[in-house]
């Protein structure tokens, strides 16, 4: 059961939530709330922005300053909020479709600007809400309603994408490691810059049942068996890493943050 402090961050009047029983999104929301409580954040100074999809309903359930926007555009809305009031803690919760398909453009540019927003990408490898269409993170060979004989499109590595585009903190874990998710989210919030925490989760309803991971526990077991910590992966050969997903912190660097740069520009121009 969540602690009382965590519960105080929930709009329980909106429960029961819309997520399927056993959905991984709840684990991620709990991790995020524990991180916020541990960091002693105030609800009135914390913004949760979301786009469209199952993951985006999180903004409705968290009792903070929340905005539920359009598909793929939440980072645009979040950018406006952060620029208007940089002292706010701005968190953007999104799914893999939201982040890497329709919102891919906003995602890479938020990384490039390095604006102080924490993006939590809930990657379940599928468009869950619309019934299980292949997304840009659907692994090659996986079944989806739009790929009934297996996906052939190469999938995105969201962390590599974020790293390449310039994010200052990039980490990946899975819902099988909720404590690690909490720690990464905490570090992401504390990082002055754009942070991406990809949390591998599952949609057993639309992805799992087509890909031999029917139950929530099948998925937790899958993540346990197929994720490899970065520290261990470094000593593994390419062959051994086939089919494995590397988790850990990929980027943790200090580079100039956008709103700070922006404010200093104003100061400089005004003299």
């Amino acid at each position: 059961m969540p602690g009382q402090e965590v519960v105080s961050w929930l709009r329980t009047r909106f429960f029961p939530h819309i997520w399927c029983p056993g959905c991984g999104h709840g684990i991620i929301m709990h991790s995020l709330l524990r991180a916020l409580v541990t960091l002693d954040k105030k609800q009135s100074e914390t913004v949760i922005a979301s786009g469209i999809g199952c993951s985006s309903r999180m903004a409705g359930y968290i009792d903070a300053c929340t905005v539920h926007t359009t598909h793929g555009r939440s980072l645009g809305f979040a950018t406006g909020i952060k620029l208007a009031k940089p002292e706010l803690t701005v968190i953007d919760v999104m799914g893999d479709g939201d982040c890497s398909a329709i919102g891919g453009n906003h995602f890479i540019h938020a990384c490039r600007r390095n604006i102080d927003i924490t993006a939590i990408v809930m990657n379940n490898n599928i468009y869950g809400m619309t019934g299980g269409q292949a997304s840009p993170t659907t692994p090659v060979g996986s079944m989806a309603t739009t790929t009934p004989y297996g996906a052939i499109d190469p999938s995105f590595d969201i962390c590599k994408l974020a790293e390449g585009a310039g994010a200052s903190y990039v980490a990946r874990t899975s819902i099988a490691n909720p404590k690690q998710a909490e720690q990464y989210i905490m570090k992401g919030i504390q990082k002055k810059g754009f942070s991406v925490i990809e949390v591998l989760t599952h949609c057993h309803t639309t992805f799992g049942r087509r890909n031999n991971r029917k139950t929530p526990i099948d998925n937790v077991n899958f993540f346990k068996a197929n994720t490899v910590p970065l520290s261990k992966a470094k000593d593994m050969c390419e062959e051994d890493l086939v089919g494995k997903i590397v988790i850990g912190e990929f980027v943790d660097k200090d580079v100039p943050e956008y709103t700070a740069q922006y404010l200093s520009l104003i100061e400089r121009v005004r003299g």
Partner: protein, 388 residues
């Protein structure tokens, strides 16, 4: 041999797509139209169509791919709803101008915010000036039949204009009902092969699309689109009659139900017409001269037909399933315009109903007819079923 199956509006549209066998379908999922490309993707995967099916990364990309594929000479179809339609807004006028004859399954859903997945017409009405033909269907059967007819209409050399085939989200798209479908061969013969006049990929006769048109040319090009719409109005019935010959079903641009001598007429579009027609029958039994005019073709708007169908009316109610905030709702403004053009100054009451999927009941229709009978016509629009 035609066959009858119990299927949804979405599946009916997808089934029509299978039989039409378009060259290209590019789509992106959004409730409640997702079913259409999803069902169609099964046909692709099972080798039942020869279509290049492209699952792109947004609605914007979907319609963009459709426009150029159609310009290249392909037969193209897609589907979307609500904010997906909204995201395509930039590209719709380009499709219209490129004369890309796309047939588009538009499953009507309210345009957020607030987010709502249910039916109203705010999505398609936002595109009413985009240079597309708009056809609104009452039920799944009509969605199927209209999809097939729309190919001929869109690709007609004197029209060459994309077509929205609209059906009501969830009410029609997800409701299962008996639908009679033609056999594959009949559809194939009816739609024929697309014979593009100026295909982009005819490398021996190079053409350019979308080049810069400055003040000297722009206006004239738009005038050509006006002409295409006028042609659509003239040529529509021929296509509908040809379709009747193969299917036994005739769909005029205006579905005038017991309006010949009607004194009180409700004008409405799409699925809500069923409820109104039932109430018309009820009132006719009681001796009230009631009628229903369902507008099937909204673009181009059949002004003369509307004025003619309403010519006997003493009072008219027009039901809009969308708002024009700060202005006049789309359907009523066209109906008033049609009456004015015909110098028929009949009192018209505007009603807005069903926003965000709010139910529309027979009692609502009865109340509207009562307003008309009592002559309760006011200048402002009225709202059906609004809690206030």
């Amino acid at each position: 041999m035609s066959r009858r199956e119990i299927i949804s509006g979405n599946w009916a549209f997808a089934e029509a797509m299978r039989q039409i066998n378009p060259d290209v379908v590019a789509a992106y999922p959004i409730t409640p139209s997702t079913d259409i490309p999803m069902k169609f993707s099964e046909f692709v995967a099972d080798g039942k169509v020869d279509t290049n099916f492209v699952t792109v990364e947004s609605e914007h990309s979907a319609i963009t791919a459709c426009v150029t594929a159609a310009a290249a000479g392909a037969r193209v179809m897609t589907a979307s709803s609500a904010n997906g339609v909204g995201l395509m807004h930039e590209i719709f006028p380009i499709a219209g101008f490129f004369r890309s004859p796309i047939v588009f399954g538009l499953v009507n859903r309210s345009l957020g915010a607030p987010i709502n997945i249910h039916c109203d017409h705010s999505d398609s009405m936002g595109e009413r000036d985009a240079g597309w033909i708009h056809l609104y269907c009452e039920d799944a059967q009509e969605a199927y039949d209209t999809a097939v007819m729309a190919v001929r209409l869109a690709e007609h050399d004197n029209i060459l204009t994309p077509v929205f085939v609209c059906q009501d989200g969830f009410i029609t798209s997800h409701g299962f009902e008996p639908v009679e479908m033609l056999d594959d061969e009949t559809v194939k013969r009816f739609v024929g092969e697309r014979n593009a006049r100026y295909p982009l990929l005819d490398v021996k006769n190079p053409v350019t699309y979308g080049s810069f048109a400055s003040t000297e040319y722009y206006f004239e090009i738009k005038r050509q689109q006006v002409e295409a719409m006028e042609n659509a109005l003239k040529l529509y019935d021929g296509v509908a009659r040809e379709y009747e010959a193969v299917s036994g079903r005739y769909y005029p641009m205006l579905d005038a139900y017991r309006t010949e001598d009607a004194e009180f007429v409700v004008v409405v579009m799409s699925s809500a017409a069923g409820v109104v027609k039932d109430v018309v029958d009820e009132l006719r039994d009681k001796g009230v001269k009631a009628g229903c005019l369902r507008i099937r073709m909204f673009r181009p708007f059949p002004f003369d037909g509307v004025a003619k169908a309403l010519s006997h009316a003493k009072a008219i109610a027009v039901l809009d399933r969308s708002l024009s905030l700060g202005g006049t709702a789309p359907v009523v403004s066209e109906v008033r315009s049609a009456l004015y053009r015909a110098s028929a100054l009949i009192p018209v009451q505007s009603y807005v109903f069903g926003l965000g999927g709010r139910d529309f009941f027979p009692q609502n229709a009865r109340d509207i007819f009562t307003d008309l009978e009592k002559g309760q016509i006011v200048g402002e629009e009225r709202y059906i079923g609004l809690l206030e």
